[in-house]
């Protein structure tokens, strides 16, 4: 393999030990994969297969009942060895997360605008006023009709699909080199899904952003991804270029996932 990898995960193991319990369960088993700069890697797997845990471990965001071994190299440095102080500078600025559940990811008592402003201002020296103008600019990019009104609204006043688009606007505003998008289209209608995938495509092309695209839906992944990794029960069962895996899945679980996504596509034209 080439050394031009942006992200390189090797032998990742994640264990869970509940507080006060002395049994330790392994949830992620020896997962390894690489992501080249400018490429999109799809991570596909069923519910509970460990996609979210793997994504969060990249940014050291797991609750301390989880312990992680292995290595996660990003731009040459092992993220698992970095002190919190340095990881904080990478979060958002270098690697931005689009979390799985938009409804729960916004602080209910903080306005949409403030969410955006605080994110930008934690990495750049910006006045409040300029950050606000930038927020409006990025919301416009996400095709919001009235961004200057939107920034003074609160999360409970927006629908799930709108919040999902705000999540992407926040990510846009941070201009990271790697995006981890955790199920960015789940629970959305087909039109919104299409819109969001389109925005992610633009981000990839316009800003040359690399991406880990997490989904249980092969169809979603196939639209954007160059390569795909299939996770099943915390184990990586298959990886390869999207075309190859789609044409010739080796693992029966991969076949099931592909069949499921094709069936879904037929049912919802």
């Amino acid at each position: 393999m080439s050394t031009e990898q942006l992200l390189s995960i090797k032998n990742l193991n994640i264990y869970l030990q509940e507080h006060g319990s002395d049994t330790r369960n392994q949830i992620i088993h020896n997962v390894s994969f690489d992501l080249e700069k400018g490429k999109v890697l799809g991570i596909v797997g069923g519910s509970g297969s460990g996609k979210t845990l793997t994504s969060l471990s990249v940014l050291s965001l797991l609750h301390d009942k989880f312990s992680v071994t292995g290595s996660i190299h990003f731009n040459g440095a092992d993220l698992l060895q970095l002190p919190e102080r340095k990881i904080r500078k990478i979060r958002g600025k270098e690697i931005a997360l689009i979390p799985q559940n938009p409804m729960a990811s916004f602080n209910p008592i903080i306005s949409i605008g403030e969410h955006m402003v605080e994110s930008m201002r934690s990495h750049q020296k910006l006045t409040r006023k300029i950050a606000k103008e930038l927020a409006i600019y990025y919301l416009e990019k996400m095709n919001f009709a009235d961004p200057s009104d939107l920034i003074s609204q609160y999360p409970f006043q927006l629908s799930g699909g709108m919040l999902q688009r705000v999540l992407i606007a926040i990510t846009l505003s941070l201009q990271p080199s790697l995006i981890i998008a955790d199920e960015p289209t789940t629970a959305l209608d087909k039109v919104t899904e299409d819109h969001i995938l389109h925005q992610l495509e633009i981000m990839k092309e316009e800003y040359d952003t690399s991406m880990l695209l997490v989904s249980h839906d092969f169809h979603v992944v196939s639209r954007l991804a160059d390569e795909v990794a299939v996770i099943h029960n915390g184990m990586l069962v298959e990886k390869g270029s999207i075309v190859n895996v789609f044409r010739q899945p080796n693992h029966s679980y991969t076949k099931q996932l592909i069949d499921a996504s094709i069936r879904l596509k037929r049912e919802k034209p």
Binding site: L56, K93, S105, N107, S122
Partner: protein, 314 residues
Amino acid sequence: MIPFIFKRIINLIPILLGTSIITFLLIHLVPGDPAEAYLRLSQIPPTDEAAAHIRKELGLDKPLYVQYFIWLLDAFQLDFGESFITGDPVFEEAIYYLWPTLQLTLAAIVLTLIISVPVGILSAVYKDRLFDQVSRILAYVGASMPSFWLGFLLIYFFSFKLGLFPSGSRGTFVHIVLPAVTMCLVYTFTFTRLLRSGILEFMNQPYVMYARSRGLKERVVIGKHVLKNASQPFITAFSISIGNMLAGTVIAENVFAWPGIGRYFVSAIVNRDFPAIQFCVLLMTIIFVLINLIVDIIYAYLDPRIRLKGDQLK
């Protein structure tokens, strides 16, 4: 925000009227004749003739609802009658005694906040570490100590043994230290633990994780995303306790010979000084509803879901 506050103030009127009617009824329906109490306190032999005379003079011969309306009309002019004991207007007397009590309560509140907020935050941040352990043990000890006993302990050590603070009465700043500490200590420990558990609960919210994932400083994550949400149960508990604190001043007032409204109220009850009792109850109600009003305003300020309610939901 302004209409919200206005609506809340309008809501207070029936509450205050209701309380005044209930206290009025309670006082007048409870066995014991006000006229007799008046005569006893004025040391006049309670003959039937004298009682009838006084009844007429105090308006006690009129039907109850007439008496209430007379009281209410006078009340609008801040005339709440004269004390049976001193003969002075109860309004002036009660306000005179209220001030030291407010002073004491305020000092205790400030002291409670100054200690419990930072200690609560630190106990959450350093969960299960030494700092948290020590604060937990102190909380158990502090919360199980009766405040009068604590008061005597403080007097014994700091006043009697060390001579650092005066043991009683009111005067300069140093006089307030021991009674305020006595009042606040129980609350300080409970609130510390309450704030800690609130913070820990909100620490695991997905939006806190998302805040961290955007690279916000830990100070901002805790102060803005956790604390603002975690402060709401804290404020609720705190507002309830301010009432308890006010009521609890009576202990500190007695132990430290602090001339407050608690002692005034108790002596009014013991002596059946009806006008004083009626006004004290009303005064306490007013203070309680005002505290509630302030708390509601703070809630609305902190939480847009309350402030903007009616915007979207019916």
